[in-house]
Amino acid sequence: MPNTIPLSWYLGISAVLFTMGALGVLIRRNPLIIFMSIELMLNSANLAFVAFARSFGVLTGQIFVFFVMTVSAAEVAVGLALIVIIFRNKHSIDVDLMNSLKG
């Protein structure tokens, strides 16, 4: 019975996940946690994509998910490298210490 779960449920979960991710990004200070939260937001979007793809019976959304996953993997690679450099310079990775661009 795979078709019995309606689209709005998937979207609901997706929205909850996105909200949790967004709150995580805004609230947490640990960049690793922030990354995780970003991954959560990306994946909530992925969930919405596949849910719509299934619902409308087209493959475009499925394919788009692969792109999002690739980009997020690349993003994590760059982000982790940045974190390592920041740690070397500041001996901390607390994001609130990185406010040199203050106006």
């Binding site: 990004v25 994001v95 609130d96 040199s100 661009l101 106006g103």
Partner: protein, 699 residues
């Protein structure tokens, strides 16, 4: 080639001296003194050759005037001035005198200026001197050869310029070589006195143009009979003002004595022989005008005669050898002007020629005397340096006062040291005094004979002047050449070199033989000039006049011997004439205080007026009040109070500052958003997205 084919050569009389001066200007810097002098003399000598050829062409033709056109000069409306040369007997006569005497003086100057520049230690001036001299010859030739009053005026001004340049030749010193502006002031004085005369000349020329619509001699003379006599009177009297300036007549003669500041060859050439006779030439040239108005003739004759007597009295009381000759020149010019004024044009021109000979001779000999005394003085100073105490008394006088080589009181006994100069000087002096059979006798006698029949007042004035002439020349001869030296410089004087004495000898020969030009009965000059000046008659020889003037001249020389020859002056003795005449001599000595009077009457008044104009009108009114207060004050008020304070500071600045303050305040608020926390940016982005999407959804 026929002789009339020679007439087109006439421009050469101007262009040869001009070429000479150009060569000396361009190449003179690389040539030595001798070459510079030789080129200048050759230029003048070639002009003389051309003049002789022109004279020959006239003589072998019928003597009629020939006009040789050269170039168009001015062409405005009715005014049409061409540079044409007029070759007639009068102009050729002047050309011969100018270039002939001029050449001899150029040669003399080679020697004179050599010593002058050496003694004054200023070599580069040598070239400048000869450039000026050639320029003078060129200008004088333009003057005498011009076909119109305007071309004559061009030359008239040109020679005035050369006179100015050469009087001020030693412009940074006085006549004794001390640093001073005396010489350049003398040059300025000559320029200004001549300017006054030129003003008269110009007014006469303007009047001519107004009535005759032309300035050529032919047109003016042709139209002269058709206009009212008052016009001709006006023209001739204003021409007389020009004559008084250039030929040093009362009241404008004052510049000529000061002009002796120039080198002696200049005094001889410009201020005795040629330039100053331009006025006489002008009157002779304007004979057709003067013969129309007897009143003008009377005025000219009286001015000349009074000047002749007046200047002769001053010459009696002078001590400077050149000043005596300068006043003598004024006096002799008075003779000539009186002669041409009386209508005795031939006699006037005759005296002009003989005077050119013997006065050039006298000036050049005086130059030779001055050089000799300077050499003596130089020798002395030189000797003194080496010999130390042997000339102690001289040394003391040397250091305490400046030695004046022109002062006759420093001379005496020079006939032994300078025999050649003595003899030629004697010839010149006797010719000037009018002793038979020298040149001056014939020409002066012709003037006197004419005056005797035409104008008795002038005759008596001139006769007294002639008596005084013989007296002051006798005085000069006794004082300079006889007795014993009154100064060690005169004792050591030496004769001048041949380059100086040879021209002197030639001039002496001319001064002896010059009378042959117009011997009574032969009248060659009269016959020559009657082609140009209508109605000339041969002067009749009057034995009474000749006998009286010769007798008076001999008497005057005897008087001068009584006073100066019998008991020669000794050092420091006052002039014997002073005892005899008392205060009258002082009047002569001080030249009637004419210079002082001119200062008091005109120059100081002029200075007062200029000072008033400078201080009050220009300074206080124009500068202080109008410029400072009115113009600058208004401008300052407008710019400072209105534009600066009100418009700029309060309005334009307010806009600019307001904009700046606004921007700063807004940006101060905005910068708080830029807090550097990534999360707050992320929140902003999130909120933005939520708002946009919310708006899209709820729309």
């Amino acid at each position: 080639m026929t002789s009339s084919g020679l007439f087109p050569l006439v421009p050469l009389i101007v262009f040869l001296p001009a070429a000479g001066l150009l060569i000396n200007i361009i190449f003179g810097g690389r040539m030595n003194e001798k070459a510079i002098g030789a080129i200048a003399s050759a230029a003048s000598g070639l002009a003389f050759v051309v003049s002789v050829l022109l004279g020959y062409a006239l003589w072998s033709g019928n003597g009629e005037a020939v006009v040789v056109p050269l170039a168009d000069w001015i062409h405005i409306g009715a005014l049409n001035v061409a540079w044409n040369f007029r070759v007639d007997t009068l102009s050729v006569l002047m050309m011969l005198v100018v270039s002939g005497v001029g050449t001899l003086i150029h040669i003399y100057a080679i020697g004179y200026m050599h010593e002058d520049v050496r003694l004054k230690n200023d070599i580069p001036r040598y070239r400048r001197f000869f450039v000026f001299m050639n320029l003078f010859i060129a200008m004088m030739m333009i003057l005498v050869s011009g076909d119109s009053y305007l071309m004559l005026f061009v030359g008239w001004e040109g020679v005035g310029l050369c006179s100015f340049l050469l009087i001020g030749f030693w412009y940074e010193m006085d006549t004794l070589g001390r640093p001073s502006w005396a010489n350049s002031n003398a040059a300025k004085k000559a320029m200004i006195a001549n300017r006054i005369g030129d003003f008269g000349f110009l007014l006469a020329a303007f009047t001519m143009f107004w009535w005759f619509k032309s300035l050529t001699f032919a047109d003016v003379f042709a139209g002269a009979a058709t206009v009212p006599a008052s016009v001709i009177l006006f023209i001739t009297l204003f021409l007389l003002v020009g004559v008084a300036g250039k030929s040093a007549q009362i009241p404008l003669y004052v510049w000529l004595p000061d002009a002796m500041a120039g080198p002696t060859p200049v005094s001889a050439l410009i201020h005795a022989a040629t330039m100053v006779t331009a006025g006489v030439y002008l009157v002779a040239r304007s004979a057709p005008l003067y013969t129309l108005v007897p009143a003008a003739q009377t005025t000219v004759a009286l001015v000349g005669a009074i000047t002749a007597l007046f200047a002769a009295t001053i010459a009696v009381g002078q001590y400077d050898i050149k000043k005596v000759l300068a006043y003598s020149t004024i006096s002799q010019l008075g003779f000539m002007v009186a002669a041409v004024g009386m209508g005795a044009f031939v006699a006037g021109m005759f005296h002009l020629i003989t005077h050119a000979f013997f006065k050039a001779l006298l000036f050049l000999s005086a130059g030779s005397v001055i050089l000799g005394v300077e050499r003596g003085h130089h020798h002395l100073a030189h000797h003194d340096e080496h010999a130390g105490s042997s000339h102690e008394e001289i040394h003391s006088t040397e250091s305490s006062e400046v030695f004046d080589p022109n002062d006759m009181r420093n001379m005496g006994g020079l006939r032994k040291q300078m025999p050649v100069t003595f003899w030629v000087y004697l010839v010149g002096a006797l010719a000037l005094a009018g002793i038979f059979p020298l040149a001056g006798f014939w020409s002066k006698d012709e003037i006197l004979a004419d005056a005797f029949t035409k104008f008795p007042v002038v005759y008596w004035l001139l006769t007294i002047a002639a008596f005084l002439t013989a007296f002051y020349m006798g005085r000069q001869i006794w004082m300079v050449f006889f007795g014993s030296p009154r100064h060690a410089a005169a004792e050591h004087a030496e004769e001048s070199p041949r380059v100086i004495t040879v021209p002197l000898m030639i001039l002496a020969a001319l001064a002896i033989l010059g009378g042959a030009l117009n011997l009574p009965g032969v009248d060659s000059l009269t016959l020559w000039l009657e082609h140009t000046i209508a109605g000339v008659e041969a002067g009749q020889f009057n034995f009474l006049v000749a006998g009286l003037s010769t007798g008076l001249a001999l008497l005057a020389i005897y008087f001068s011997w009584l006073l100066y020859g019998r008991r020669p002056l000794v050092e420091g003795q006052p002039d014997p004439l002073k005892k005899l005449l008392g205060p009258v001599f002082r009047v002569f000595e001080r030249r009637y205080w004419v210079d002082e009077a001119y200062w008091a009457l005109f120059i100081n008044r002029y200075v007062d007026v200029s000072r008033f104009l400078a201080d009050v009108i220009d300074g206080r009114f124009w500068h202080d009040w109008f410029h400072e207060k009115v113009l600058a004050g208004t401008y300052n008020w407008l710019s400072r109070t209105v534009l600066d304070l009100r418009v700029d500071q309060q309005f334009i600045d307010a806009i600019a500052n307001g904009l700046g303050n606004l921007t700063r305040r807004v940006s101060g608020e905005l910068r708080r958003l830029q807090n550097g926390f990534v999360r707050s940016y992320a929140l902003a982005v999130l909120l933005g997205v939520v708002i946009i999407i919310g708006w899209l959804v709820l729309k």
